[in-house]
Symmetry: none
DNA sequence: GATGAATGAGCTTTCATTCAT
DNA sequence: AATGAATGAAAGCTCATTCAT
């Protein structure tokens, strides 16, 4: 598991870029900003990522895999579908709390700046690790007779749109309570929307 | 109702800016781009809007009022809550189809580039016309015994997150069917999630 | 014939660029160099030429037309072929003396940096004004029975290669005498090489 | 004649640099490009050549000696002056065909980027091996009563300017025939221009 | 109101060269 | 001899904004 020096530096760039991009957006973050915060020269940055866009794309893949791994763990747990929904919501909100840069990057950079991701991420392929696990979740739910058998993306849109919307509202500071407090009601809403009828 | 010349020119800018911002994003659209498409000099543009950011903010207000007006009509109609949900979903998807620049602007510019709207739009005030009507919808639904009485923003997040998510997925071309076809199932999902329990 | 202000500024850029490119070469001359010498901001330079390459290409056309015009005058004069050769040589060497940046640009920038001119100047089209007049000169010489009827480019290569070579040697400071002094012998050499046999 | 390892590596760099410089030009070729193609690290490259400019200069000397050696062979042959001219033209065109990187380097890098060669190559000293042999050729021609006794550089400019011009035109793809086919007429033209009168 | 030339700061990216290993 | 990460200066180019006309 020992990382090479180069891998460590690359991870440092990823961490810093994630933070800055998520806070300031893609365009308002400059390579000099990133390099300075990593403690690296601008020129050297380009030994790690061939362009700003390539960095942005690697970041999406990174987050997608991170999210995907957590959902896989939930998928593989013993919980029933309703509990799994709660676990996913919890995981998502915890992540929004503890690693907000990841969720924010997803919402603010990936979902919004289509022009950046057009070339290599078409059809959500940069995000497939995550989407695949959500598919498995739905399929399992349907198979086990808990969820209504509907178009995947309709259900996916509900689930992720809802969660993303809440995180957005939280970021806007219009929610009266911490995200934490909404886990129950939101899980319930989602379950009600998706359950067998 | 006759508009002054100045108002007409201003509306022309708004229309063009909406189109370009929604297609290319805020940063990739330049003032020269907008001025050229309006048929106006760059210098003159600044007689109508004092900066690019101010233009962006006026655009949000414009869309918020437009959306708000349509929801008010639905709120004031005779329909019951379940029908109103269907009407709002329909209206939203129709708008995504016929005036995509509006929905796209909302999703791609307003929701994503927080840094632009920080100064004058905090706490969703630029978007209050629209939010207010959604609040009225929920209150009416609760009053009439149709909807479960929960935190407004939790319900709002579900509703708008879901719709936004679907439009996003549609834009990504991953939906097998046209948005139109999802009206029924999505309205149903939303109603199931929000109804009295 | 009154030039607009903008045309004057453009001409100023052309003059400066010609000078710097010919002295330092294309790559060693920067846009900031040019702008500074014109007394203009870097940004404003790009209101006149959309890129450094475009500027380089306009320069070739400019010189080609300038040279072409002078050769046309000679072609249309009453002189016989041998005299015309002398006139062309004289004109070329005078130009190398009085406007060296033009000849130098031709030799050092246009002839050498093929990659710059690949896209829009293929097949010598950027230089056609000049080549055309040389063609006319040869045709006339052949028609009047003075020149041997051979492949145009073979003759053209002799003529222009020779003159270019001499200017190069002059620039290298290896010629014992000023260019001026070679007019006679070179014209004679060219005539001997091309005349009817 | 066994080369040391170091000499072999150096020759490998020379071969690669010649190829890349002649194809892409001096500025568009990077040291990393060269090192990669040689299969060597960038750092190691600097153990063989102390700078990019030094490499460029060694290359000229290398070509000059190569050309000089071939001309010496011709000078030392039994042929008469007219035949020697033909042999030089042939050799030059053959070289342009079989080792185009050498001729191209001469024309595109050495003759054009004066700024690179200013410091150590002034007065054609980097190229003296070749120039010297051409001088010998002319002197012999004059001594044997075949060539007109004129200024050496005037004759040299004709000879080399002509040949360089033809190779240039060939590279521009404007010649109707292969270079090969021009050997006769060009040799004749040169002889006519230089012969005793 | 209208024009568009002008500014200048700042961006992404490149690359010859160095140096610790 | 060899590696390649690191530097840093500089390049081409963009663009929001201003201002003289």
């Amino acid at each position: 598991m020992a990382q090479t020096m180069k891998e460590q530096r690359k991870d440092a760039i990823i961490a810093v870029a994630l933070e800055l991009f998520s806070q300031r957006g893609f365009y308002a973050t400059t390579i000099p900003d990133i390099a300075a915060k990593v403690g690296m020269s601008v020129g050297n940055f380009y030994n790690y990522f061939t362009s700003k866009e390539v960095l942005a794309k690697e970041l999406v893949v990174y987050i997608s895999e991170y999210l995907g791994k957590h959902i896989r763990d939930i998928n593989e747990s013993e919980a029933d579908t309703e509990e799994k929904i709660y676990k996913i919501v919890s995981m998502y909100f915890n992540m929004a709390h503890e690693r907000p840069e990841m969720i924010e990057y997803f919402l603010r950079v990936y979902l919004s700046n289509r022009e950046i991701f057009l070339d290599d991420c078409e059809g959500m392929i940069c995000v497939s690790a995550f989407v695949t696990e959500m598919m498995i979740f739905f399929d399992d739910g349907v198979s086990s007779g808990d969820l209504y058998d509907q178009d995947f993306f309709s259900a996916f849109g509900l689930f992720m749109g809802y969660l993303g919307g809440m995180v957005f509202l939280f970021g806007e500071k219009v929610l009266p309570d911490p995200l934490e407090n909404y886990k129950e009601s939101i899980s319930k809403n989602i379950y009600n929307a998706l359950k067998i009828r």
